[in-house]
């Protein structure tokens, strides 16, 4: 089975490539830079130079493949040129879908994001819940638009499934798409946890291995046009840091930081960097987003595609083990 893959130099895509190769797929990975340090190296993975924003390079690389996974995206929440989100995440997706339809790709999995779903109210959010609040940034809008494009191509006859991971953690590349590993590492190094004053706010954290396995289950069993949340446990910030402490066998000094202070600080850092022409992605708006409840329900994925959730404590133990043994630690 030949698998076409985008985003192989990103956090999730990298693991997808290695997992596919291990499962016996022949992988064709579309990459922008053939000498990227993030290439997933394996005999069964072939690299094609190209860019999802160039249709010709996509169709050339996809030729001869049976199925496809589209995991490439601009994943940060802020970019100085907001049109990049649409150029990469929407037009890029359009190119992949168009090529897949044209070449008669059997099945495609599109990696979206739970950012498209809104904050949760009195119960965890499901795939069917309409979003009652406006989108908060161009990343969310671009991913929503890309999902709608997928549905449009499904109506045109493509077999495509949408998967939506939330915040993902676990062994893997140390890239921008993976901020949680960085938080874990810094917390353990400093023996210090900065807990937002909104410490009972709930988020959903998915273990990378679950997310990767979920992609293959969606490819195999997913119904075309459907969306599956590939999440983990719903936990509060307090539980998050307590679990790090427990899994890392390390006592942590918990310091509660008022959300207002966090916002002010992010504004300061953002402005200071902006003035010298650098860009940080933690804007006050992003901070605001981080203190909203975002509980998710993975029931649909569990029921329909046999999705499995690794308990947070076990995932965290493996992650910390990885961080301690890898060169970055």
């Amino acid at each position: 089975m030949n698998l076409f893959l985008t985003g192989a130099t990103g956090y999730i895509g990298h693991q997808l490539a290695l997992a596919a190769a291990a499962q016996g797929y022949s992988v064709t990975a579309l990459v922008r830079n053939l000498s990227s340090p993030h290439l997933p190296l394996h005999p069964a993975i072939r690299f094609c130079k190209g860019d999802i924003t160039e249709y010709s390079s996509v169709i050339k690389a996809m030729k001869g493949c049976d199925c496809a996974m589209h995991a490439a995206a601009l994943t940060q929440l802020w970019h100085k040129d907001s049109s990049q989100f649409y150029r990469i995440n929407v037009m890029g997706t359009r190119n992949v879908l168009e090529a897949a339809l044209y070449l008669g790709i059997e099945k495609l999995v599109f990696t979206s994001s739970c950012a498209v779903l809104g904050p949760s109210g009195d119960r965890p959010v499901t795939e069917d819940d309409p979003r009652f609040t406006p989108f908060e940034n161009d990343y969310e809008v671009s991913k929503h638009c890309a999902e709608e494009l997928v549905r449009e191509y499904v109506r045109r006859g493509l077999h495509a499934v949408i998967v939506s991971p939330p915040r993902v953690y676990g062994p893997g590349l140390d890239t921008r798409g993976n901020p949680i590993n960085k938080i874990i590492r810094n917390t353990l190094k400093r023996k210090l946890a900065f807990l937002p004053s909104a410490k009972d706010v709930v988020g959903n954290y998915a273990f990378i291995d679950d997310v990767v396995a979920g992609h293959f289950k969606a490819l195999e069993k997913g119904e075309s046009g459907e969306k599956y949340i590939l999440g983990g446990e719903n936990i509060s910030y307090k539980q998050f840091f307590e679990t790090i402490s427990r899994a890392g066998n390390q006592h942590l000094q918990m310091i509660t930081v008022p959300v207002a202070l966090l916002k002010g600080w992010s504004a300061l850092v953002f402005t200071a960097n902006y003035l010298v022409g650098r860009h940080t992605h933690l804007t006050p708006k992003v901070v605001e987003r981080l203190v909203q409840n975002r509980a998710l329900s993975c029931e649909k994925a569990i029921q329909e595609i046999n999705y499995h959730i690794t308990p947070f404590i076990h995932g965290m133990e493996q992650t910390i083990h990885h961080l301690k043994t890898s060169s970055h630690a």
Binding site: S82, Y86, V90, E98, T133, L149
Partner: protein
């Protein structure tokens, strides 16, 4: 305990119609929903029924023909459902030069935007009278107040709905049927619009764009207070005020400028031109 009467909403599968349906359901209205075939109405109906515990009926109809309006009401009668609230939301929008579309398209557009609300109101007026106090809510647009290039037929159909609603309101008042008209501005509904708004709309335009959930909540609140004309959002109110006080030549230049600024530059799907550019 939900009341035994139903609210009929046309064009309920997406955009404002979907949020009007959700808003009504959250206020424990039973619903009859209608939208085009293949627009996901079955899934939405099941979702609303489960989440809000109200009765939801749905029927897929293309309201551009007179016959489908009669069929819709006949179907409702057959099931013995009584309607005490009619929300005429279905509409065909978009921006195109007049010769871009043919007569058939404009016939359909006038059919859905003008003929269907008129016929449905006529067919259901006896029902509404019987179950008074009752409501009719027609979805017009602030586009109905302006002379808009590339929205010729659209803005005219919306102006019709505005005048129709106000006239019918005075006539049906004695029967305790309250006719309201909603005049929203731009909304983030279809994904193409959303992207368009984020990428190309100017500051003023972006300020006035509203989320359909918010518009739906305002619409329902005002309708239940028997308001005649509902203009959601501060900016839309400001636009209408300007419309009243600015001289004709200035309005002409302003709207032309706004519409030119909003000319789309995007072609996201090959072989498929964008249908809707910006919904004013």
């Amino acid at each position: 305990m939900p009341s035994p009467c139903y609210t009929l909403i046309t064009g309920a599968s997406e955009g404002l119609g979907k949020f009007l349906a959700l808003e009504c359901a959250s206020r424990q209205h039973n619903l009859v929903l209608t939208a085009l075939p293949g627009s996901g109405l079955r899934k939405l109906s099941a979702y609303i029924q489960k989440q809000y515990g109200v009765n939801v009926m749905y029927t897929e109809k293309d309201l551009s023909t007179e016959k489908s309006c009669y069929d819709l009401v006949a179907g409702i009668r057959q099931k013995g459902i009584s309607i005490n609230c009619l929300i005429n939301n279905a509409g065909i929008g978009g921006s195109f030069s007049f010769d871009e579309k043919d007569g058939h398209f404009y016939n359909r557009q006038i059919g859905v935007n003008v003929i269907a609300p008129t016929i449905l109101s006529r067919l259901l007026v006896a029902d509404l009278r019987r179950h008074a106090p009752a409501h009719i809510l027609n979805i017009s647009s602030i586009a109905g107040f302006f002379a808009l290039p590339n929205k010729q037929v659209y803005s005219a159909t919306k102006a019709y709905l505005f005048r129709f609603s106000k006239s019918l309101r005075t006539e049906l008042k004695r029967d305790n049927i309250h006719v309201s008209v909603l005049c929203p501005g731009g909304m983030d509904t279809r994904w193409e619009l959303l992207m368009e708004h984020r990428m190309h709309a100017n500051w003023l335009c972006r300020q006035s764009i509203m989320h359909p959930a918010k518009v739906a909540a305002i619409a329902l609140d005002s309708m239940l207070q028997n308001k005649a004309v509902i203009v959601p959002g501060v900016w839309n109110k400001v636009f209408l005020l300007w419309n009243r006080i600015f001289p004709g030549w200035l309005k002409h230049h302003l709207t032309r400028y706004q519409m030119r600024k909003l000319k789309p530059i995007l072609t996201p799907v090959p072989n498929e031109p964008l249908m809707t550019k910006i919904a004013v």
